[in-house]
């Protein structure tokens, strides 16, 4: 089985007064039909990695890589026009806060219809049916009503489902979800994750799930990349997360308060300078693909 997406030595840099600042410093991984978690703190470069794959890094930011291929085809050096044909159609993205991703003055249904027609070239009536079908697929009980509503009239959880519906309508091969549930309530979060999980599984898509929440990722993904200061410091099967070897991963896990293990003071993560450039725990980051979805 070949990789859907293959990334080698990806670098994203921005000019600053102190010279070039590298936000992503040599990230390599392969994505199969799996759920791949990318975990790190703010500033670790996890979101930038997702944006670079989609070609969403704006100048003066620069993206470089040895290879960035989608189904064997190079997508790094495509002209913007070609890039746009991939974005949304073959690789889609769900962002953190549906409030900022949806157009506030356009009905939800019309937005899905517009996105779907753009990617598929379908007619208005067919697109409308598709939009309703997608709203139903994300378990919205009354799709007709939601279709007619404006973004401010729906809750956060509903908004995120609408975004997922819109992104999946075009049938992309890869979904990049950047903190898709961080703006949601705990109870809604589980529901949105389940919907995303089912859809990804049913359609055999590759999912890149970017999050700062280790435990959520461990629960939800097949494989986890841990990012620190622009590099992947460790790659693990999600079920092995709690036997992580890198001190950064261990530190992150320990700093979480736990209901089942009370402590007076939480261990605080002491960052070591060596982590920035030190040896990586797993040198064979890009070896054979894991067996795809379970």
């Amino acid at each position: 089985m070949s990789a859907l997406l293959s990334v080698r030595d990806l670098r994203v840099s921005f000019p600053s007064r102190q010279g070039m600042f590298e936000a992503v410093r040599g990230v390599s991984f392969d994505l199969g039909r799996e759920r791949l978690g990318v975990v790190g703190e703010s500033g670790s470069g996890k979101s930038m990695t997702g944006r670079a794959i989609l070609g969403l890094v704006r100048p003066p930011g620069q993206v470089a890589a040895q290879a960035l291929t989608l189904g064997g085809q190079d997508i790094l050096n495509l002209p913007e026009r070609e890039r746009r044909r991939i974005r949304g159609r073959r690789i889609a993205m769900v962002m953190q806060d549906p409030k900022f991703s949806l157009n506030p003055v356009m009905r939800v249904g019309d937005q899905i219809v517009e996105a779907y027609r753009l990617h598929s070239g379908a007619g208005r009536a067919a697109a409308r049916l598709k939009a309703l079908e997608m709203l139903e697929a994300v378990r919205i009980r009354d799709p007709e009503r939601v279709f007619q509503s404006y973004p401010h009239e729906v809750s956060g959880g509903m908004g995120q489902r609408i975004m997922i519906a819109m992104m999946l309508a075009a049938g992309p091969e890869i979904l990049i979800a950047d903190e898709p549930t961080s703006a949601l309530d705990v109870s809604v979060r589980a529901e949105v994750l389940r919907i995303m999980d089912d859809l990804v599984r049913d359609r055999g898509m590759g999912l890149i799930f970017i999050s700062h929440d280790l435990n959520l990722v461990a629960q939800f993904c097949d494989r986890v990349l841990i990012m620190y200061a622009g590099r992947i410091v460790e790659t693990l099967a999600a079920r092995d997360l709690h036997s992580a070897r890198h001190p950064y991963t261990q530190g992150l896990l320990n700093s979480l308060p736990r209901l089942d293990a009370p402590v007076d003071r939480l261990p605080v993560l002491e960052r070591a300078e060596a982590w920035r450039d030190g040896p990586l725990v797993d040198a064979s980051m890009t070896e054979a693909l894991p067996g795809g979805l379970r």
Partner: protein, 253 residues
């Protein structure tokens, strides 16, 4: 148990006027003892933050009884004594600091309003207390990380040497490692200064870490009260609480 520093009886808070009136809080009773740390848990829209805002005088339309250290409150006006005694820390440290005021100015202004003297020395001490150090004194908020900003917000709340802190999701905008630092800071401050906390969070593990007792809110009312031992053991008479505990465990492997 000492006397309650805060007692709330039959609190109702609403927004707007009929027919658009929204009842955000529908009859809440609470008692928080001096020195205690009390948690309010619930989903967004459950009214948990609104309870804090009503106490702080940020939600003018309420009925019921709120008493803080024997002082009975009404409307949205709060006495100088109240502001000295009660302070609030908000969720978003990006939104709660004036972008064009330095840390020094934020703290100096607060100290002046609180009628404090010896402001220069107090600013230095406040910064030390929240673990920031003097180097941060003349910085602007955009020069600080989220955790550092939240420390400034906590320093500002401590300026008047309050007894009761209202904490509205103080760590939910922060990374987990920074959350651990802020939670430790709150633990230390409470021990050093004998503070009382009323903390709102959607994160049961955070509440379990910092609080001894908690109440679970849903649709504007309290549906469950339990202490932290019950929470940890998953002992609850309420289906909704068990659902919340299960949902928070979904996040944990």
């Amino acid at each position: 148990m000492t006397a309650p520093i805060l007692s709330v009886a039959d609190l109702r808070v609403w927004f707007g006027h009929p027919p658009d009136r929204v009842d955000a809080v529908r009859g809440v009773d609470l008692g928080v003892s001096r020195g205690e740390s009390f948690g309010l848990v619930g989903e967004s829209g459950s009214g948990k933050s609104t309870v804090l805002r009503a106490i702080a005088g940020l939600s003018p339309d309420w009925s019921g009884r709120i008493e803080v250290a024997g002082e009975s409150l009404s409307g949205a006006r709060r006495s100088a004594a109240f502001h000295r005694r009660v302070q609030m820390v908000f969720q978003d440290p990006y939104a709660s600091l004036h972008p064009r005021h330095t840390v020094d100015r934020v703290l100096a202004e607060t100290l002046t309003l609180q009628g404090m003297d010896d402001i220069d020395r107090r600013i230095v001490r406040l910064l030390d207390d929240v673990g920031l150090g003097r180097g941060f004194r003349f910085r602007y908020p955009h020069q600080l990380s989220g955790g550092q900003r939240q420390r400034v917000a906590i320093a500002r709340a401590l300026a008047g040497e309050p007894e009761l802190l209202l904490l509205d999701e103080p760590t939910s905008a922060l990374d987990v490692s920074v959350q651990a630092e802020i939670l430790n800071l709150l633990t230390d401050l409470r021990a050093d200064r004998g503070l009382t906390y009323l903390m709102v969070s959607h994160d049961l593990a955070v509440i379990g870490h910092l609080c001894q007792r908690l109440a679970v809110m849903q649709a504007g009312g309290i549906v469950d009260r339990l202490d932290v031992a019950d929470l940890r053991a998953g002992r609850s008479g309420s289906d909704y609480t068990r659902h919340l505990i299960a949902a928070s465990q979904y996040q944990r492997a």
